[in-house]
Each structure stands twice: as C-alpha cells, then as structure tokens.
C-alpha cells in the first residue's frame, strides 16, 4: 500500500486531545459554529457529547489537554451493568427511599474545567438530584433517583465525555480522618470564639488589679469567665484529656499529660479562687493555651490528611471485579467470590486481580508497583503472575493460585504492618523529659504549699498558684510545636510534606540516606536516550519510521519512541503484526520494516547487527531495540530510565555535609551500577528483595546510623517502615506514601536538601527555645517559691516567656534555605 501524499498534511492537532492527526483521517465536530478537526472517532464522540450538552465552555476554560479518548468498549459498557446489582451496590451506595447516593472516583481530571464539565454534564441527566465534584480529591458525590436512572447509566454518561468513573468504597480510615478533621475545626471555633471573650474579660480583671475594680463587677467578670471557659475545657480540650488518660492508663507520661495537668490545675485553681474569693483567675491562659495547642494539632492533622488521600491508590491497585471464564462463557464477578483454580481473563490494560498461573496467551506485564522492576516482564504459559501488576499488551487467561490474605500483595502489607510496629522511639524522649519536668514541678508545688501553710501564711494558696502558673510548661510545650508548625508550612511550600510528628527532627539528625533507584533517583519511566543510525538513513528518519510502526502499541518502549519524535507523525503503518515481547513489523510508506529485539528483527528482515556494539550499549543497563528493512540494518535505539534533574548535585551536597549515601534497588546489576557510578555512590546494592532491603537498613541501624530511606513502590514499604525516616516520592507509586514520614511532591530531590537545612535550623531554634524556657523557669521558680511573685506577675511572665518562644520560632519563616 503506497501512500503518495504523506508529506502534504495539515499540522492542525486534534481539537479535543491536542495530538497530531494522522494523514488520511478526517473527522470533525462543530464547536461554536466552527468545524474543528478530530483525530479519531473517540474524540469526535466525546466532543459531540460535550457540545450536545451545551458545555462547549469547557474548551475555552481548560488549561490541560485530556488523554486521547479510547472508544468506550462494548465490554466496558457491559461490565458496568454489574454496578446495578443491589448486592454489589451494598459496598458503596447509600439508599434513602428512592434516593441513592455514592462517591465516584474520576480518572483523567486534569484541570478545573474538567470538574466543571463533569459536574454540569451529570446535573443535566434526568434523575440526578445533585452532583458535585471535589477538585482536591477528584471525587464526585452523586445523588440520584433510582426509579429514574441507573448507576451504570451515570457511569456511562461520564464515559461519554471522556472520563472514567469508578464507584468508590470509602475506606474506613479515610472516613475517620474526615470526621476527625471537622471535629477539630469545631473545637478550634469554640476555643477561639469563647477564648477571645475570656481575654476581653481578663484585660478588665488585670486592669482592675492596678486601678481597682468594683467587687460586683469583678465577681461578674469572674463568673462569666468561668462559664465561658467551661465549654473550652469540656468540649474543645477533650482530645488532650482523652489522650492523657490513655497515657496514664499505660503508665507513661506522654506529651498530653503535662498539657492536661497544666489546663486542669489552672482551671481548678481559678474556680477555687472564685468560690473562696481569694486569689486570681487564669481562665484566659487556659483558653489561649487550648486554642494554640488545638491549632498545632489541626495543622499536623491537615498535613496527614493530604497524604491519606493517596491511600486511595491502595484500594485501587487491585480491581474489585474480575472476568471469570466458565463453561458457559465469561461473567463479571466480584474478586472476593473467586476461588482457587478458577479461570480469569485479564485484558490488555487491566490490572491482575489475584496471583495466578498463566494458562493461555502471552503478554508483557508491568510489575513496577509490586517488584519495583522498571521494565515490563514478558510472561508465557506456565509463568506466575502477581496480583496488582498491569497487563500491558494482549489478553491472557490465568488460573487462580492464591487469593485473599495469601497473595503477594497482602503479604507485603503484613510485612509493612510489622515494620511499622517497630518504629524507633526517638520522638518519645522529649515527651518523657517534659513529663519528668511536670512531675518535678508538681512535687515542688506540694512542698512549697506545705511549707507556707505550716508557717501559717494566708498567702500559701496564692504562692502555690503563682508557682504553678509561672512554671506552667507553656513555653516548654510551645518550644517545639511552634517551630515545627512554621517549618512544616515552609517545607510544604517547597514540596516536602511532613506527615509524622518526628519527621523534622529525624531529618535534621540523619547520618545515612538510602535511596531506591527506580522512580527515586531516576524518573521511573523509559526515555529514548540515543539513536545509532547504521545505514544511510538519518536518525530523525529512523525515529519517524519507528514511531509510525509503534503508533498503536501501548508498550512503554513504543510510548518512549512516540514521545521522542519531534516531527508530527503523518502516516499510518499498514499490515502491522505485533509479537508481544519481541517487536512489531509492518509497512510504512509502502516499505517493509521490523522493529524490536535484535533476534526478532534479524528473523523478520535478515539484517545482521554488530553484536559487540549492541552488548556495549546494553551493559549500561539500557534497553536496545533495533530497526531494519529488508536485509538492511537501519538503526539501534537506546532506551533507559533518565536520572531526575539535580540528583547529582543533591548527592554531592549531602556527601559534603558528611552524610553517607547508598543505593538499594530491586533492579538489575548493570542499571544500578550505572546510576551509582554517575552519582558517585559507593557500594550500590542490586537485585534486592524487600527482605534484603529491610535487613540492609537494620544492619546500618545496628551500627548506630540514623537512616533516612527515600523510595517509592510497595516493595519499599517494609524497609520504609523500619528506617528512622521514610520519604516517599509522591509522584511515584502512591502506595508507599501511606507509610512514609515525609512525602516529596515535586519531580526532583532538591527539596530534600533544603528541607534538611531548614530542619536543622528548626532544631537549633527549638534548642534555643528550650534553653530559654528552662532559664526562665530557673529564675522564676525560686522567686515564686519564696513568695516574691504575685499571681498577676506570674501570668504576665508566663505569657511573655511564651511570646518570646513563638517570636523566635517565627524567625524561621524568613530564614533562607
């Protein structure tokens, strides 16, 4: 088939998806009274659906292009009818009479216009009561009248405008997080609004100390303060009381024990003062203390929640439904109904639902989620296939070998749980010191009270209160969280999310950084590195032919070749035959070509290749595919995983700072060594299993190192749990983030370096703060014990010392990284 017009082509891309339109194809849709070109029937169908709904505003507002639309397959439409089954709906639909409500995860949401488009489109469907899309989480909340519309029709409608919707079974943890978040918000509101009223009254009361105040007003203000503080104590401060109680039950003085004691003693002493008419009230201190502490906790929770959203990836990694092959044909069943020895069909692009043995077909599978292996692995009849891997090429039939808790994925989760239980206790040390401090103060207070009382002084209560207030560990308690919250905010802006409380401190102290390779030091995806032309064809020409041949393939190598072509691809290959795991052959512009492994290409075209030069290229851990026409070798393409930007600089800087760096990878020797050489990292470890990695890190820890593990992939999860600090690449496999202490959101590692600098400065400031708080106490405590400090002076001193601490922490906001 010769195509004489392949040079004369319009350069207009598809109006819908923005990809080049292959020659000889003409689809168009009328948008805003103008015919716009479309690249495929899929895009045309979606664009028409958008226009028919009157939503063409989407094209004006969008800031990103959608993926090329894959036509809704008949199997997909048939499969989603299972969601109408009431048994299946039980998992994720809430019914209220005729009204049903469900959350749907939307795939392919790229910009705010997508949100608007799906929302409007859903709202226009008859039978939909309400539809709202959350931009932050990419989830749609839909309420519909089940007598008028079926759930499958709703999912179909979303598919019609080019998005995929999956019913979302909100995992319990996520729901808990959301409830906790709104509870914290309410508590903050109560503590803030009522606390300010208490402060206003406190100003009047403190003023009264100076300029005298009528007793009736004093009493009125005091009773009012008590009334206003009561909800703060009983409602807003509840989390502290509950957690302190839990700590006491387990007989260890946690962070919340001193906090709770501080709050209760100040409150009880103040209430006592009202009833006895002696002494002062400190309700303002109580209210503000609760408010500050709640804010710190809320900020920490918000950071944790952001990362928990990535936990959804965990539920999505294995599908809910599987296609079972029975004697009567195919049926779609929930995965938990599968039994051992069932036959399961996995189509191209689908995720394998269980562990099984391949019994029919041949394909390559992407195992990067489970094993960290960056290249897809070719699987033949008899090979084991792991649940959670993605079938890349052609449909295969599997015999179920392991289900439920026995699968590889479930085992990894258990490993991870165990590793998490073994978390180091560095963070608890500071708590324990604070706990001892408070215990000491309390004992001292008893001694002081007893001494003054035995001397018959009527000032004994005032002195004891002054002692308790002036030494209230406010400054000490604020010393750490205030600096932490400032730094956490700054790190988030840099793209380094702090998820666990101890992360900053540990980051500053780390002596050893362990990196995973794939997806951490490297980008984790194949890129075309080099083209070696052999014949008279120019490199660009070879690349163009390769891209045309591979146009239809979803294989990562094909994608890399396509992405590398600069010139628009204008022809379509004819007579294409895809041999999974080996290569493709077909006709481009009438001439026969083959691309793939050297052996495959030689077999198809008879062209020979210099095996020495090919081996040299492969030795660096790269993949090589070759292109040839009849008897003529044309080019070799070298593909590999590209290093992330600035990685070398980051490693160099870390080494300059006296930190040891290592690479720990499940990948093959050549690839790992190559990366380690470029970065100047000694002793890389390759082909490591999750257990190997865990042992490696534990050995480092036994030698006294504080280890930070930076990685992604579930295979990293156990080792990340064991490391002192775990940092996950947020852009990589999202699952690992579920267990990480910190999450790196951007595309390079530089924030890690900046974060380390900031964390160290923060640690310095925390030390200054603690030193200041201790110095203040060292001076104030004896003075108070000797009765030289009046309660109002104590309150003023306490507030001032807290302000100094907060002010010092705020310096972190303007410090350079």
């Amino acid at each position: 088939m010769h195509n004489p017009t392949h040079h004369t082509t319009s350069n207009t891309p598809c109006f819908h998806c923005g990809l080049p339109i292959p020659q000889g194809i003409s689809f168009s849709t009328i948008i805003d009274e103008k015919a716009q070109p479309m690249c495929c029937p899929g895009c045309k169908a979606v664009a028409s659906a958008i226009v028919a709904a009157g939503l063409q505003g989407y094209y004006r507002h969008r800031t990103g292009n959608p993926d090329r639309v894959q036509e809704a397959l008949p199997e997909f439409l048939q499969e989603i009818t299972i969601y109408d089954n009431p048994e299946v709906q039980k998992q994720f639909v809430v019914h209220e009479g005729d009204v049903s409500e469900a959350s749907l995860i939307l795939e392919n949401i790229v910009c705010a216009a997508c949100v608007w488009l799906t929302e409007k489109h859903l709202q226009q469907l008859p039978g939909i009561i309400s539809a709202s899309v959350n931009y932050s989480t990419g989830r749609a909340r839909v309420r519909w009248d089940k007598t008028k519309i079926k759930l499958s029709k709703i999912i179909e409608a979303v598919a019609a405008i080019g998005y995929r919707a999956h019913p979302y079974d909100p995992n319990r943890q996520q729901a808990l997080f959301e409830r906790e978040r709104s509870r914290y918000l309410k508590r903050l509101a109560v503590a803030g609004a009522l606390g300010m009223q208490v402060m206003i009254l406190a100003v009047a009361l403190y003023g009264g100390e100076w300029w005298t105040i009528e007793t009736r007003f004093k009493h009125f203000f005091q009773w009012l303060s008590l009334g206003l503080t009561l909800p703060i104590i009983t409602y807003a401060a509840q989390p502290f009381f509950i957690s302190a109680w839990r700590d006491l039950m387990r007989a260890h003085a946690g962070m919340d024990v001193p906090v709770t004691l501080g709050i209760s003693i100040a409150f009880i002493a103040s209430t006592w003062a009202i009833f006895t008419g002696k002494g002062d009230v400190y309700f303002d201190s109580v209210a503000m203390f609760v408010f500050f502490l709640l804010s710190a906790r809320f900020l920490e929770l918000a950071a944790r929640k952001k990362s928990s959203e990535t936990m959804e990836a965990l539920t999505r990694i294995t599908p809910l439904m599987a296609t079972r092959i029975t004697e009567t044909g195919e049926e779609v069943v929930p995965v938990n109904e599968l039994v051992i020895n069932d036959s399961v069909l996995v189509r191209a692009g689908e995720t394998v639902p269980i562990d099984g043995k391949l019994v029919e077909g041949r394909s390559s599978l992407d195992e990067s989620l489970v094993t960290g292996e960056s290249m897809p692995v070719t699987k033949d009849i008899g090979d084991m296939v792991i649940g959670g891997t993605i079938n890349r090429e052609s449909p295969v039939t599997l015999q179920v070998i392991q289900i439920g808790q026995d699968t590889v994925l479930a085992t990894m989760m258990r490993l991870l749980d165990r590793a998490q239980a073994e978390k180091p206790t560095i963070a608890l040390l500071t708590d324990r010191i604070a706990g001892h401090f408070v215990t000491a103060i309390l004992l001292l207070a008893v001694v002081v009270a007893g001494y003054w009382w035995s001397r018959g002084s009527d000032q004994w209560l005032a002195i004891t209160i002054a002692l308790l207030v002036v030494t209230c560990p406010c400054a000490l308690s604020l010393a750490t969280p205030s600096a932490m919250s400032v730094v956490t905010g700054r790190l988030s802006a840099l793209g380094l999310l702090t998820v666990r409380g101890h992360a900053l401190e540990t980051l500053a102290r780390c002596t050893h950084f362990v990196f995973d390779k794939t997806g951490t030091l490297t980008q984790g995806e194949l890129k075309l590195l080099k083209v070696h032309p052999f014949g008279e064809y120019h490199a660009d020409q070879c690349l163009r032919i390769a891209a045309i041949l591979e146009w239809q393939s979803e294989h990562p190598i094909a994608q890399a070749l396509r992405n590398a072509t600069a010139a628009p691809v204008t022809s379509i290959a004819a007579d294409v035959i895809n041999t999974p795991g080996s290569g493709m052959c077909g006709r481009v512009d009438g001439k026969y070509y083959a691309i793939g492994t050297p052996a495959f290409v030689k077999g198809k075209t008879g062209a020979g290749f210099d095996s020495n030069s090919l081996t040299a290229l492969q030795n660096q851990g790269h993949s090589v595919v070759v292109l040839a026409s009849n008897n003529e070798a044309l080019a070799a393409f070298v593909l590999g995983d590209v290093m992330r930007k600035h990685t070398a600089t980051v490693i160099q800087q870390l080494k300059l700072a006296g930190i040891s760096c290592s690479v720990l990878s499940g990948d093959q020797q050549a690839a790992v060594r190559n990366v380690a050489n470029i970065l100047g990292i000694d002793k890389p470890v390759w082909e490591a299993t999750p257990e190997d990695k865990l042992k490696y890190v534990q050995r480092l820890q036994q030698d006294g190192a504080t280890v930070a593990m930076i990685g992604d992939g579930i295979n990293d999860a156990p080792v990340m749990g064991a490391a002192h600090l775990s940092v996950a690449m947020g852009s990589g496999t999202q699952l690992a983030t579920a267990t990480a202490d910190m999450i790196l959101l951007g595309q390079h590692l530089t924030p890690l370096l900046q974060g380390r600098g900031l964390a160290q400065k923060a640690l310095g400031i925390i030390k200054q703060n603690i030193a200041w708080a201790l110095l203040y106490n060292a001076i104030a405590l004896p003075l108070a014990a000797l009765g030289y400090i009046a309660p109002w002076m104590a309150a003023l001193g306490m507030s001032a010392s807290s302000l100094v601490v907060i002010g010092n922490a705020l310096r972190l906001r303007s410090l350079k990284t």
């Binding site: 009157g54 505003g57 705010a112 608007w116 932050s136 959301e178 709104s182 509101a189 609004a193 009223q197």
Partner: protein, 56 residues
C-alpha cells in the same frame, strides 16, 4: 456602668452566633474542598444560557 450587664450578653450572643454559623459551614461541607471554588468562580455559565437561547 450598669450598661455592661446588657452589652456583655449581646457580645456573648454574637460569639455564640459566630460559632453556630461556623458549625453550620462545617456541616454543609464548606471546608471539604478548599481549592475548587477558587477555580469555579472563573467558569462563566452565561455561555450555556446564550447557547440555549440561540437554539430556540
């Protein structure tokens, strides 16, 4: 100074009102998505109306 017995209860009512309003805002999901609304305001929906009108 007796006016304080009226002014303070009023201040309290306002504070309680603010808390009630805030609780209502939390319950109605106004804090669930803090990013989306910032973009949503830029989507003019006049376009849809016009097009529907011109259809008729």
């Amino acid at each position: 100074m007796e006016v304080i017995y009226i002014l303070i209860p009023i201040a309290l009512l306002i504070a309680i009102g603010a808390i009630a309003l805030f609780f209502w805002a939390i319950k109605s999901g106004q804090f669930d998505d803090l990013e989306g609304p910032a973009h949503r305001i830029l989507m003019d929906e006049d376009g849809i109306k016009e097009e529907h009108e011109s259809d008729q």
